[in-house]
């Protein structure tokens, strides 16, 4: 009895994993940039975010297509098959983060050059936490580090709490300054997009656990 390689399968798998890495890094950077552009009233930057989304979408499609071909041609089973399914789902999570960046860019354009409300800095704090979570979960995913993934998923509670607090502050600002209600609505959406992005980090942690254990987990209720 001897170990035999599945060199073609492993090479193709590695290619898809690299695509996911590229997609993830691009999506996370784009989200980060989208908030920068919002804070800087940078309309041009916001337009770049919108235009770049096509690249993220294409990567997601290519991952889907390549995984379908791998399943059709190589008939993987067990962990190999789960790894492919998890790649597709994680690509979907990351692609969605790219969509949130686009949404944030659109809000940036809507707000335009209007002076920001003072509490906008809360969004910056929330961004720092969310981006940290996404970067960390990507590392844990690449290293297949289950314990790290569980810890990162717990950070979602912090983001949820920040979300609740930020929305409250925004609303009370709006009650005091009804003329700013338009901008506050846009910023509340941005706040929601960041909160949703952090939820996707939890999804990815759950996917990693599914990959490694073959069972479904709920890391955050």
């Amino acid at each position: 009895m001897r170990m035999v390689g599945r060199e073609k399968f492993d090479a193709d798998l590695k290619y898809v994993q690299d695509l996911l890495l590229e997609l993830s890094n691009t999506a996370i950077d784009t989200l980060n940039n989208a908030i920068d552009h919002l804070l800087d009233h940078n309309i041009e930057g916001a337009l770049t975010v919108i235009n770049n989304d096509i690249h993220i979408n294409r990567l997601d499609e290519e991952i889907n297509d390549r995984v379908i071909l791998l399943i059709a041609k190589q008939q993987p089973v067990a962990t190999d098959l789960r790894r492919l399914m998890v790649l597709v789902k994680t690509a979907g999570d990351m692609e969605r983060i790219g969509d949130y960046a686009v949404n944030i860019a659109k809000e940036t354009i809507r707000i335009g050059k209007d002076e920001h409300i003072p509490s906008i800095h809360l969004l910056d704090e929330m961004r720092v936490k969310t981006i940290h979570m996404l970067k960390q979960i990507l590392d844990a995913f690449v290293n297949e580090d289950m314990e790290e993934a569980k810890l990162i998923a717990k950070l979602d509670d912090d983001v949820d709490e920040m979300y609740g607090k930020t929305i409250k502050v925004f609303l009370s600002t709006g009650i005091e300054n009804p003329e700013q209600m338009g901008q506050i609505t846009q910023l509340s959406f941005v706040c929601r997009y960041l909160e949703r992005s952090a939820d996707h980090a939890t999804n990815i942690a759950e996917q990693l656990l599914f990959l490694l254990k073959g069972k479904h987990y709920e890391l955050n209720n």
């Binding site: 170990m3 089973v77 073959g214 987990y217 709920e218 890391l219 955050n220 209720n221």
Partner: protein
């Protein structure tokens, strides 16, 4: 508060009766220890697949179930194989009686050089059935059961050798059904067949398990995954893992099983 919840998703089905219960079976060819401490319960109306690399003992095991392995003069066995709760190695257990209940289909289709009709009627005739009407009924029922009736009903007197490989294999299955067995053993029944014939035989196996218990040795892991309810992974004469096929092909508990089914071993 514990946040990490493991979701329970397994479907529990009622357990079926055991038709074959292998207990601590050991088998030697001369000095070669070919089967080691095999414990394997085979349940009725299920398809049990035996997989493993060449020389792992899977064919030896299936040939032990109908005592065909005894044709090899140097064979020695210890342990028990209970068929319907009776040890087939008991001194007073008649091998003919066993083989009436346990049919076998081989790797290469091996019809007799006779007409299609005579191939199927062969077993019943040996059992003393001479009445033409009864034989006609058995032949039709068996050919229907093997999903080949429509293809051969107009040429029952033609020599079975004139059929394609896939048709010959279904004739052999029909011949096996003619003696109304309880269990059907299949030793790589599709390895000599083209893909379409293979799929037909696989479909047939799915239908047959309604009425029979089927044990199939296969080199084709995807076939085991497609058609079986339970899978046993043999390696070096031992059962490394035996479980629901769904588990074996998704979350096997032994790394050697995972390596083998993933094509990284063998």
């Amino acid at each position: 508060m514990e946040q990490i919840l493991e979701k329970e998703s397994k479907i529990i089905l009622p357990t079926k009766d055991i038709v074959y219960d292998t207990q601590q079976l050991n088998l030697w060819y001369g000095n070669h220890h070919a089967l080691k401490n095999i414990d394997l319960p085979i349940r009725e109306n299920e398809v049990t697949a035996i997989i493993g690399p060449s020389g792992c003992g899977k064919s030896t095991y299936i040939k032990t179930l109908n005592r065909m392995v005894e044709l090899v003069p140097t064979v020695k066995t210890t342990g028990k194989i209970l068929y319907r709760e009776r040890n087939i190695f008991d001194a007073d257990y008649g091998v003919e009686e066993l083989r009436t209940k346990v049919g076998m289909v081989f790797q290469k289709p091996n019809p007799f050089p006779k007409s299609i009709y005579d191939n199927i009627a062969y077993g019943p005739r040996i059992h003393g059935i001479k009445n033409k009407k009864i034989l006609d009924e058995i032949v039709e029922k068996s050919l229907r059961g093997a999903a080949i009736w429509d293809e051969v009903k107009d040429r029952l007197t033609t020599n079975a050798y004139s059929l394609s490989g896939g048709q010959q294999q279904r004739i052999c299955i029909a011949r096996c059904l003619a003696i109304e067995p309880d269990v059907i053993l299949m030793d790589e029944p599709t390895s000599a067949l083209d893909p379409i014939s293979t799929l037909k035989v696989e479909e047939l196996i799915q239908q047959l398990k309604e009425d029979y218990s089927i044990i199939i040795v296969t080199h084709n892991m995807q076939q085991a995954a497609r058609i079986s309810d339970k899978t046993a992974f043999f390696l070096n004469g031992e059962v490394v893992e035996y479980d629901d096929t769904d588990i074996i092909f998704s979350t096997p508990s032994d790394n050697r099983t995972e390596d083998y089914i993933s094509g990284r071993f063998g």
